[in-house]
């Protein structure tokens, strides 16, 4: 019997002909990404040997620039480590700053057909690049950096085949909310996205959907490669790679077809991402204190563009805080050149430097007691963005921007009327 995309990549990286669900695969890691939190004194240990410094990269993202002395100290540890072992891909505060998954996408560090590990949970973001990428813990990162290897329990795979095309004003985040609402968690399972409608999604849209696979509790989330992806990677990364598709007789746990034309804008209610999606009309009018667009899921140039389009020539509601955080400083600069940043600022949004920021409740928009937020980011868990009594709704950037204008949860449909799909 044949293998799925993930199984083929793990088999190749493990030097074996085949892996199957239930196996523990020990594989070569092509890219190992450390983040600021990797260097927390409670997790980091002095490394005595690095297997291959050219395969290691470092990004300071969760608390960047440092808001506390403790954050500043872990970055010092990271810089010393990079210097000692000659690690060149270091994304420190400055021009190359950003959220690790967005940095990996900007620079095409994730190579199709290879294995990537990262200390942050949203690492399956790189699955948009046909890369077997998984978020791992701090100890796994030490293992990968020092031995060049990682272990994985091989899970079964759910395959989604997309048909059709999203309607105007509907985004990849809405596809995710649809999947999360209809099928819930995919614990110990891999997700494979493909089908004739897949290429209608932009690479940024695929990134949003791949990133959110973490919230489905999937192991690996992987997209089929297409020409748009291969061209994008070749323009940015000179290393050779092997785009990987599933065998015709690959074994799936289940195969599901999703017609993109039928997807509607949705919102997730507070405290849980899965099995919690509603039509926007069901919560429309809910007062909000804060609206946020950012994170590895929704800090792409597409997301900033759609937010700017919605607020163009309008003003954020009085008493509402609208915070926008680009995924990387490179995205920030591109949005600046395109005029999106000026549009957002004119409307009354606050645009922050690229960082995980408000999404992780670290800084740049922490919620106070009993506040209500609508967010286009990764998680709406209780306490995630600040005080545990705060309520966090989750939706697409278009819905969040429209809600910021209204000061209450509202549909963005009116801003896309007349668009041709």
């Amino acid at each position: 019997m044949g293998m799925t995309i993930t199984e083929k990549i793990l088999a190749r990286a493990g030097g074996t002909a085949k892996v199957s669900p239930g196996d523990v695969a020990v594989v070569d890691v092509e890219t190992a990404c450390l983040i600021d939190l990797s260097f927390l004194p409670e997790g980091w240990r002095e490394v005595l040997k690095v297997a291959d410094p050219s395969k290691v990269m470092i990004v300071f993202d969760h608390l960047a620039p440092a808001p506390t002395v403790a954050a500043a100290e872990i970055m010092q540890t990271g810089r010393e480590f990079a210097k000692r072992f000659g690690i060149e891909r270091v994304h420190d505060i400055g021009r190359d700053q950003g959220i690790s998954h967005a940095i990996i996408a900007d620079n095409a560090y994730a190579l199709p057909g290879t294995v990537l590990v990262n200390a942050d949970s949203h690492t399956c973001a790189a699955g948009a690049f046909n890369c077997a990428a998984r978020g791992v813990g701090g100890p796994d990162m030490l293992y990968a950096v020092t031995t060049g290897k990682a272990w994985f329990r091989v899970g079964e795979t759910i395959r989604y085949d997309f048909t059709g095309k999203l309607r105007p004003g509907v985004s990849a985040k809405d596809i995710f909310l649809h999947i999360a609402g209809k099928w819930g968690a995919h614990v110990n399972q891999n997700i494979e996205y493909g089908g004739p409608g897949m290429s209608s999604l932009s690479l940024n849209g695929r990134r949003t959907l791949a990133t959110m696979g973490t919230e489905l509790s999937a192991e690996f989330v992987i997209f089929e490669p297409d020409d748009a992806l291969i061209d994008y990677v070749r323009e940015r990364n000179p290393k050779p790679f092997t785009p990987t598709i599933a065998d015709p007789d690959a074994v799936y746990k289940e195969r599901r077809t999703l017609d993109l034309d039928t997807i509607e804008p949705l919102v997730a209610l507070p405290d849980a991402v899965v099995n919690n999606s509603m039509r926007i009309s069901q919560v429309a009018g809910q007062h909000i204190d804060q609206a946020f667009i950012g994170s590895c899921a929704n800090g792409t140039l597409d997301d900033l563009a759609v937010a700017a389009r919605v607020v163009q020539g309008r003003k954020v509601a009085k008493g509402t805080r609208f915070i926008v955080t680009p995924g990387t400083q490179a995205i920030f600069r591109a949005a600046l050149k395109a005029g999106h940043i000026e549009t957002l600022l004119d409307a009354g949004a606050v645009v922050t430097p690229a960082t995980c920021g408000a999404c992780v409740g670290g800084h740049m928009g922490v919620l106070g007691p009993n506040e209500v937020c609508i967010t286009a980011s990764t998680r709406n868990f209780k306490g995630r963005m600040g005080d545990p009594s705060a309520r966090i709704f989750m939706a697409s950037p278009a819905t969040v921007a429209a809600s910021a204008l209204a000061g209450a949860i509202t549909s963005a449909a009116e801003f896309f009327q007349g668009d041709v799909g």
Binding site: L48, T68, V136, V187, A218
Partner: protein, 164 residues
Amino acid sequence: MRAGKVWKFGDNINTDLMLPGPYLYRSAEEQATAVFQANRPEWIKQVQQGDAIVGGFNFGMGSSRPAARSLRMCGVGFLLAEAINGLFFRNAVNYGLLACECPGVSTAFEEGDTAELSLEAWSVCNPRTAQTLPVQVVPAQLLEMMLQGGIYPLLAAQGLIASA
């Protein structure tokens, strides 16, 4: 055989609940005082060394933060759940928290029961009801890491990282 008093938790218990974001920069000891403070603030004072957590579906969903270490440090002897989130399971292996999947466990135990776990038989027994359930086998190389304190001692022994 290991016996632990059962604390029950539901489905989709996430790692933000076990290790709240504001504690990420605190010491491991301080982190272990904040377990479940948002959803069950009294629990941390009640849990005793060697107690067992019985969880539902997708236990440990969420981030890569070392929540498994907090559970181990606040006294949890072992964790049984209907299904364990893959990333949480990795951290359980790597930080040395004994964690196994056991379909049916959340209905077989009530809070306060004793769970008797056998890694020889790969089963768990509830002496109150005399019910015994099979526990899913953890592959040998992962179980060894789980029981021997995780990945740090392994890497230190190979001279790859400094000893604690």
